[in-house]
Symmetry: C2
Subunit: 396 residues, 2 copies
C-alpha cells in the first residue's frame, strides 16, 4: 500500500514536471542519440552545451533570436527560445565571443561553412517528410567541365521507377542553392527528394529529374565572389559577374549536355525548367533569359531577377532581359511559367524588391505566378513551400 502511494506520487511529480518542462523531443536534425537541441509542440527550442569555464554563452539563430544562455551548476549552459517559425534554422553557439557549432546537431553547408541547424516541425505538414510512398534516388555525379577545366560535383534526383521504366524519358528541373550554400543544400536542407516523392505519389507533379549543381563556377585563377569571402565592393561585383558568366556557360555548355547524355531526359526546351533560391534565383533569371531556346519554365525563390535590390535605375520591361517580356502575349506563348516567391518575414529589402518585380509584371500584364510564404523568413521553409507550389506547375 505504501509502495503504491509512493508510485502514485512519483507519477504525479513526473506528470507535473512534464507539464512544466513542455513535451520537448530531440530535433530530427540531431546526430544519433543527441538529446539536445530539442523542440516542443509549441515550437520552442531548447539548446544546451557544456562549457564549464566560459564566462558568456549565447545562442545565435541566423534568422531568429540571439539569446543569452544560462549557466547551470553542472557546467552546462541552457536556454529555451520563444516559439519559432517552422522549418530548418541555421544557428551558432557563441562562447566567449566565438561562434561554434553545436556538437548535438548535424551540420549543413550554409554561410560558407558547415553550420549547425535545427529542424522545427510544421504542425500538420508532411509534404517534405519521408512518407510511405515510392522513393526516388539522389545521385552524386561528377562531370568533366570543359568550361571550368575541372571535375564538378552535382546531385541528381531521379524519380521512383526511373530504373524500372527503361523506355520512359523525363523532363528536367535545374535547381540551384543560395549564396554560401552548395549543391548539397536542396537535399540536406531542402528535402527536395521527399517533396518530389510525395508530389509524384499523389500525382500532383509529373515525374521529373532534378539536377542540383554547384553555383560557384570558376575558371582556374578566377576570384571568388562568395559571401564572407575576401572580396568586397567593386571587386566583389566584378567577381560575381565573372562567376555568373562562367556558371551560365558551365550550365549550358557542360552540365546540360552531360545530363542529356547520361540520363533519359527529354532534351528540349519544353521539358527543361530552371529555378533557384536567393543567389540561385538570380542565376536562374540570368541563365534562362540568356537561353530561352533552352528553358521554358523559370522560378525565382526569394531571388527574382531584374529588380535593383540596392537602388539604381528602375527596371523597364521594354528593355530588361533584351526585351524578352516587351510583348507579354508572345512571352506567355514562349515561356510556360514565370514564377516568383518570397516569405512574408524576409528582410524588407528582399520583400520590397520581389514585390516590386511582381507589380512590374502585373502592370505590364506579363503572365506569372507570385507566391508569398506566410510567416517564414529567408530560410529553407520558404523554399520548400516554393518548390511545393512550383513543381506541380511544370511540364503539364
Amino acid at each position: 500500500m505504501k509502495m503504491k502511494l509512493v508510485g502514485m506520487v512519483g507519477l504525479m511529480v513526473a506528470s507535473l514536471c512534464y507539464a512544466q518542462e513542455g513535451n520537448f523531443q530531440p530535433a530530427s536534425t540531431n546526430v544519433l542519440d543527441a538529446q539536445y537541441p530539442r523542440v516542443d509542440s509549441a515550437s520552442r527550442v531548447q539548446v544546451r552545451i557544456k562549457a564549464p569555464d566560459a564566462t558568456k554563452v549565447k545562442v545565435n539563430f541566423w534568422s531568429g533570436p540571439k539569446m543569452d544562455m544560462e549557466k547551470q551548476a553542472d557546467g552546462f549552459w541552457t536556454v529555451t527560445t520563444p516559439p519559432q517559425a517552422p522549418g530548418l534554422h541555421y544557428y551558432a553557439i557563441n562562447i566567449d565571443g566565438i561562434d561554434v557549432n553545436d556538437p548535438g546537431s548535424h551540420t549543413f553547408y550554409g554561410g560558407s561553412k558547415d553550420a549547425s541547424a535545427v529542424e522545427v516541425p510544421e504542425a500538420g505538414a508532411t509534404y517534405y517528410l519521408p512518407q510511405d510512398v515510392p522513393h526516388g534516388q539522389v545521385r552524386e555525379v561528377w562531370y568533366n567541365s570543359s568550361v571550368t577545366s575541372s571535375w564538378r560535383h552535382a546531385l541528381v534526383y531521379t524519380p521512383p521507377d526511373y530504373d524500372k521504366n527503361q523506355a520512359a524519358r523525363y523532363p528536367v528541373l535545374y535547381l540551384q542553392h543560395g549564396g554560401g550554400e552548395d549543391e548539397t543544400g536542396w537535399t540536406k536542407q531542402g528535402n527536395v527528394n521527399f517533396i518530389l516523392d510525395n508530389l509524384i505519389a499523389s500525382k500532383s507533379a509529373k515525374p521529373m529529374i532534378i539536377v542540383m549543381a554547384n553555383g560557384y563556377a570558376r575558371r582556374a585563377g578566377q576570384a571568388t565572389a562568395q559571401p564572407g569571402g575576401p572580396m568586397g565592393g567593386p571587386g566583389m561585383m566584378q567577381a560575381m559577374q565573372q562567376m555568373m558568366t562562367t556558371f551560365d556557360e558551365d550550365v549550358t555548355k557542360a552540365l546540360i549536355p552531360y545530363i542529356d547524355k547520361t540520363f533519359r531526359t527529354v532534351p528540349d526546351r519544353d521539358h527543361r525548367a530552371m529555378a533557384g533560391l536567393s543567389m540561385g534565383g538570380m542565376q536562374t533569371f540570368v541563365v534562362t533569359f540568356n537561353h530561352l531556346d533552352t528553358f521554358s519554365y523559370i522560378g525565382g525563390f526569394s531571388g527574382a531577377g531584374g529588380m535593383s535590390m540596392r537602388g539604381g535605375p528602375a527596371p523597364d520591361l521594354k528593355t530588361m532581359y533584351d526585351g524578352a517580356m516587351a510583348d507579354p502575349a508572345a512571352f506567355a506563348k514562349r515561356v510556360h511559367l514565370l514564377w516568383i516567391g518570397v516569405g512574408t518575414e524576409e528582410p524588407a529589402q528582399m520583400r520590397t524588391g520581389i514585390q516590386g518585380f511582381n507589380k512590374l509584371l502585373e502592370d505590364g500584364k506579363v503572365q506569372h505566378i507570385f507566391y508569398e510564404s506566410p510567416g517564414t523568413a529567408h530560410e529553407w521553409q520558404t523554399w520548400r513551400r516554393d518548390l511545393k507550389d512550383f513543381a506541380p506547375r511544370l511540364f503539364k
Copy 2:
C-alpha cells in the same frame, strides 16, 4: 636601375620567406576558399583560428599531435605541426577547454558528431583521387526495413556504364563504416567511388556495386550502443549485442532483398562480398559467418572478428563461428576470400588482436590474406589502402 634592384631584393625576400614558411597550400578538405588549415609538401599542417578573447587554444588531432597554439597580435592563434602521416585526420580545436570545429574545414561524421578533418596528401598516390577516367555514381537510397520498421538511408556506388549496359548484372560488395561514423563515411572520408573508378579503369578490379548501409540498426525502443553514448559497461555490451542482431537481420532480411530488387545484381553468394572497418569489420565477421550461404568474400579492415581484444579465453578455430574454419580445405572452397588488415601505427591492442588472429589463421592453415598498412594509424588512409588491396581480389 634602382627599381630593378628593389625588384630583385623583393624577389629575394619573397623567396626567403617562401623557404622559411614552406609551400603551404589550403587543404582539399577546406570549405570554399578557406586558406586554413593548410599543408606543405613535408606534410606539416598549419592551423589558424580567430579567438581574440581566449586564454588557451590547442589543436587536438585524434590520432596525432595535441599541440598548444600561439596567439598572434591580430587575435588569431596558429600552430604548425610536425610532418603528419598521409590521409584524412579528424581533429578539433580546443578553446579554453571546449572542443570546437574549425570553420575552415568541412565536417565529416566521426566520433558521433560532425567533426573537422584535414586531408594530408600522400606523395605519388593518386589511387583515391578523382582522375580523368569514367566515373561511377553514388546514389542515396531509402529502403523500408521490416526489421527496424523504419525508412533507412543507404548509399550505393554504381560503376561507370551501369546505366548504359542495361543487360549487364553486377556483383555486390557490402561495405560498412566504423563506430561513431555512418553510411556517408566511405564516400566522404574514404573516397570509395574514386578508388573503384580508378581500379575499374585500370582493369584491376571488376565493375561492382558497393552498398554502404548505416550500421546502427535498431528496433523501436532499442538502446544505443555507440561510442560516447550514454551507455557503458554491461549495458553497453548488451546494447551492442542487440544492435548486432538487429543489424544482421536488417542486412539479410531487408537490405539485400531491396538491393537485389532495385539494382541489376547477380544475386548469389558467389557474387556477394562484405567488408567493414573497425566496428564494421566486427559486424562483417558476425554477419558473413552467420550467413555463409549468402556471402563468399569477407574483409575485416582494422576490425577482424574472433579475437578477444580485451583478454578473455583464447579463440579456437575448431569452435569459433560454429566451426566454419575447422576444416581449412573445406573452408577455402566455400569462402573465396578471407581478408584482414591493420595499420602499423594503430593502437597496440588493435594490432595485437589482429596480428594474433592472423597467426591463428596461419597456424591453422586457413587460407587468407593479411595486409599491414605501413605508417598509418586507426584512420582512413589505412582503410583506403585496405580497399585498394581488397577490391581487386573480389569476383575473379
